[in-house]
């Protein structure tokens, strides 16, 4: 596949689906899955532009590695927070977590 458009279309579809999941889901773990989709879409964009753009080095790949690492750290901490939320209020419905609402 030697055109740039299919990759960009794929990543924009993934991005929109991630946004849709973040907006519509109530379960915190499902929202996290949507965020993972968004991060994957941005990774595809980085690698695509690194292949088709005018770059001599692989900076896009290194950026993608950092994004993947950040996604791993983010997933670890977010799931720990979600588990604590479940321990404290007995549900992971993000609408129920309103104890700090004034």
């Amino acid at each position: 596949m030697d055109y740039i458009q299919p990759y960009l279309m794929l990543s924009s579809i993934l991005f929109s689906m991630g946004i849709y999941a973040v907006i519509t889901r109530k379960n915190a773990v499902a929202i996290l899955m949507g965020i993972e989709l968004i991060l994957n879409a941005c990774n595809i964009n980085f690698v695509t532009f690194n292949r088709f753009g005018n770059f001599a080095t692989l900076d896009g790949h290194v950026f993608t590695m950092f994004v993947i690492v950040l996604a791993a750290a983010e997933a670890a901490v977010a799931l720990a927070i979600i588990i604590n939320l479940f321990k404290n209020i007995g549900t992971v419905d993000v609408d129920q977590a309103k104890e700090m609402k004034g």
């Binding site: 596949m1 030697d2 458009q5 299919p6 990759y7 794929l10 924009s12 579809i13 991005f15 929109s16 689906m17 991630g18 946004i19 849709y20 999941a21 907006i23 519509t24 889901r25 109530k26 379960n27 773990v29 499902a30 996290l32 899955m33 949507g34 993972e36 989709l37 994957n40 990774n43 595809i44 690698v47 690194n50 292949r51 088709f52 753009g53 080095t57 692989l58 790949h61 290194v62 993608t64 590695m65 950092f66 993947i68 690492v69 950040l70 996604a71 791993a72 750290a73 983010e74 997933a75 670890a76 901490v77 720990a80 979600i82 588990i83 604590n84 939320l85 479940f86 007995g90 609408d95």
Partner: protein, 168 residues
């Protein structure tokens, strides 16, 4: 009718797999089904990286996303539900505004993609990207590379502290 290239057919199949399983991820009412669909999405994206000449990133995707993050997410699903029956449901809300917003976003992105004159120069494939990535990591990106270890340290300590059982 010309016979289409096998690589292009495989690419289209992969796109179908990724979009279909991502659709399952965002709409399936059963969270376990969502998590398993996420597996296919991640594998498909790893194959897309191979089309983009990024073999090391594809391996990283399989090792970190499929092997690590997905396991964590499945643990998160299993740990945060009162499971009496095998259907872990996830309620949804705001479907119509959400679909509208993400649909408009998608159309805008498609508009931008098709109306931009891309300056495409197809870089030749490198035989292995690992060497170049290693030289960049130890040269130009040395400081981020070291900072990542501190980030991982804080993530490990913070998450372990948060998820530990309180000892009374």
């Amino acid at each position: 009718m010309p016979i289409p290239d096998l690589g292009i057919l495989l690419f289209l199949g992969l796109c179908g797999l990724i979009v279909g399983s991502a659709f399952m991820v965002v709409t399936s009412p059963n969270l376990v089904h969502s998590a398993v669909s996420l597996l296919f999405t991640f594998f498909g994206i790893a194959a897309i990286y191979i089309y983009l000449y990024a073999d090391f990133i594809a391996a990283t995707q399989v090792v970190v996303y499929v092997g690590g993050i997905l396991v964590l997410i499945i643990f998160g699903v299993m740990l945060t539900n009162k499971i009496e029956n095998a259907t872990i449901t996830s309620k949804t809300h705001n479907q119509i505004p959400g679909a509208l917003f993400s649909g408009i976003l998608l159309l805008l992105q498609f508009y931008a993609i098709f109306n931009t004159k891309w300056l495409v120069n197809d870089n030749p494939e490198k035989s292995s990207t690992v060497m170049d990535i290693g030289e960049l990591l130890l040269g130009k990106y040395l400081l981020p590379f070291e900072v990542v270890s501190i980030l991982l340290l804080s993530a490990l300590i913070g998450a372990a502290m948060l998820s530990r059982k309180k000892v009374d």
